[in-house]
Symmetry: D2
């Protein structure tokens, strides 16, 4: 709509289906004049509908397991070949907890699953940047964005070990962002997005109730996947060249709320409906 990414070349990780934030980012990047390649893990490609997105946006798909340096090296080489030059923007939208999938409680993890989730959800971001950095594959004033969630700062009990993975991911953004900025003038940021009803997000227990809670807590309501794509475009554009090492909340204001009137109203309704705090707490522990 604005030609904000005219002439820019990108790599977009993690578009599973049309609910994915990465999918919306691809669509919006296309509208803004960018060329890009899409990539996802082979297994995710089979589960999703990425081919449809590729057709729609005139993009090629390069399968890559984001935990494999070989795959990532191949991806970056091919992307530069296809796009005809260095990369201007990268979206990392990858996350998965085996402990969540298998129903392991946070306090009782299978540490092999913990390792796999950490590798896929967090270390993959380091690997992507490592390949880009070593191959000198980013243009100056390029922009790298990873999606994250506020569980990295505050406790959301059902988010499980993904909270710790996101904390590690955000730390990578700062640590690697320093070197990428100093040496290649590339910025690295994370967007901490509202809970979003993507296919991946739906795996988390009680997700619908939680989305309603966040909606009621946030003065502007939850941010949608499309709004997240818009925000991502602003971070890929030349309007934000000096924003780096930041974790940027995109959440209708949730992150800076202590409590909203709407939530207090709900709580008060219960208080008067005759159940004491103590009773509710006891139940909670069972």
């Amino acid at each position: 709509m604005y030609n904000l990414l005219k002439g820019k070349k990108g790599i977009i990780f993690g578009a599973l289906d049309s609910k994915s934030i990465a999918w919306k980012v691809a669509e919006r990047s296309h509208e803004e004049g960018a060329k890009f390649v899409l990539t996802n893990a082979p297994v995710a490609m089979r589960l999703g509908t990425i081919n449809e997105l590729a057709e729609k946006t005139g993009s090629e798909i390069i399968p890559a397991d984001a935990t494999s340096m070989l795959d990532l090296e191949n991806l970056v080489d091919k992307a530069m070949e296809i796009l005809g030059g260095k990369i201007d923007f990268v979206l990392h939208s990858i996350g998965m907890s085996v402990n969540v999938r298998r129903g392991n409680h946070y306090t009782h993890q299978d540490y092999n699953f913990t390792k796999t989730g950490w590798d896929v959800s967090a270390v993959s971001f380091h690997k992507v940047m490592s390949v880009l950095y070593q191959r000198n594959a980013m243009n100056e004033w390029g922009s790298i964005v990873a999606l994250t969630y506020m569980a990295a700062q505050r406790v959301f009990p059902d988010y499980n070990d993904m909270a710790d993975n996101k904390a590690y991911l955000e730390s990578i953004a700062r640590s690697f962002g320093y070197f990428f900025g100093r040496d290649h003038k590339v910025r690295v940021n994370t967007i901490s997005q509202s809970p979003t009803p993507t296919t991946a997000g739906s795996g988390v227990k009680g997700f619908d109730g939680f989305i309603a809670y966040a909606e009621n807590m946030s003065p502007l309501g939850n941010a949608t996947a499309l709004e997240c794509a818009d925000y991502t475009i602003s971070l890929f554009s030349d309007l934000t060249k000096k924003v780096t090492l930041q974790n940027l909340f995109h959440d209708g204001g949730f992150s800076n709320m202590g409590v909203s009137n709407a939530i207090m109203d709900e709580i008060m309704k219960n208080e008067t409906s005759n159940e004491t705090v103590e009773e509710s707490k006891k139940k909670d522990k069972k």
Copy 2:
């Protein structure tokens, strides 16, 4: 109980009655072997029962309006005279919003009231430290603590302009703390305490419901006034000599919670009891 403050001399602001945190701090300081003077504004002295506390702890009371430099200079001079030397610890527990008292909504303040609240609740902390600093009245490794609330970081709608006053107060702790540390090895910190049912706190609308909310959100429940006094003692003691410029949350974990299971349970109960988020939001705006 531990003799943690044996031989230390202090000034304690803001003990109104036996519910006051400052009152508990005075009692605990006395138990830990400290000598101190009590002070409060003349009007607060009439409203409260500070004489009882003075008797109980063998302390003298020096009335002082904390917005008056003259009163504060007199206070510090007299305190050193009475205690026989320089000061080791100071508690600032002063806060008041005229806008809250008069029922003005945050968006519709009387700016003369705003100014008075700011002066009493925040600037008074600067004035206290300014007098102590200029008179060279603090011993090395002394400790200055002010009480604050998390509304300085996050929105609690009914906290009104006290939120902004607390933000200013916490900034003073950092700004003045630098000079007091560098020049006199004095540390300056704020304690960000759970909502506490003091006589002052009770003025805020819907306070009881809010206390229940915070209780349910915090893994350890709300911190009491007595527990806050214990924590304050640790900050006055020699165990924390290198802690400075910090805002320290003393809140059973509330500050780092996104949501607790107990709160989600309450919310879910409502969701199933058939009112939609939209309806609840509409009501909220009326």
Copy 3:
């Protein structure tokens, strides 16, 4: 260049001369298709060259003392009249410390000056929003931005009482942003900008050296006034509709640096040039 603000109407406070960030925001808003009015205090209008900017951007100037509710009411009424409807974006770029101007040390303030600086630099932001809110003068999904500085979070000794004013300002953004978001879907954010060599900034002692320090600490170097204007445009645009209550660092990464290699190199040079830490510290206190 992108038509990002096509059809949008704004009010821009604080364009003194061509070095001002507000000046650049006006120029960039004009390029992006916005219509707006300019405003500044009468005294600032005489000192600066705002007429030139008005001509260049086809804007009218409405003088207003931002501490006067009457002036602000007149401003908002006139602005809607001139622009032909409600407002979409507002820039607050106002700050001034009388204590700094008069050379008062932070520890030794004239509290009348403190009050004036607080009123001009911080409360003015509340007053501006209060008038907009009460007159229902903002369009839905409008955007209000105030400029701030990281001294609100961390100590920069020469920033004096402006640090505390900025902390208060940022708190207002959150407190008022809640009500403005909930009731009118308006977002409110602050941009925490690199030290910038504006005419106003130059008043601060040792500013040039400090700019060099920040430049060396930041992986991308300091953000310029023009880059700040670009970033502000992104926050006025529809790309950032769900960003609210945030304090957004626009500083080349400074805010998340512990230390850079460039700064360590400078420090190490001194260490080897034979002056001990202790000697340097002693000098510092004189």
Copy 4:
């Protein structure tokens, strides 16, 4: 000295030699009346002098590899047997980066080393708490503390992948702290300590220069290992029962400094000694 830990039972990880913070914590815990067991990895026990500490404090040593659930289960069982009951306090002071040891640059890691460092430095904290939680081995109002460093929040280029490990560790403290608080009234916090010249810390490149930098930046100077032990005692004691999920800076104020006068003086010396910022930056990149 104060009997603060009289009757309390603990487990202390990570006392290598007399420079270790864990060593000082053990000595201070002993002085404060606690009984505890010491533990370390077999290899660390051979390198260090933990036997001396055991003798001095009348403690038993139970070797345990903190990445091994079996070892940790044995440790906790034996500790309860030896101490005659449940545990009141735990210190986790474990950290090691193979990438740092082998001289791998942050941008060019060996990911097997990354995994090992993460497992030893961060996941071990989860494993320790998991065993304690599942065995119901902590007394109510017990206290668990892990040592961390500010590289988890801000960039210190030479800290390498330990920065990311510490971010993960601090996230574990919050995530597990919620469940441990809710279910057993146990608090979990991290202490973010000044750079400390321990045997482990010395491995980091340019560490001496960095210690001098931190000393000059902090209004109270760096916190020593002994001071850190004092602070840890306060967190083990009953004075801090409602402090949980917190990351507590113990650093003489460093964490809230933007810049100190002492550092600016050093920088200015260089500016005037005729090297431009640009030249220094160029060098930095080589």
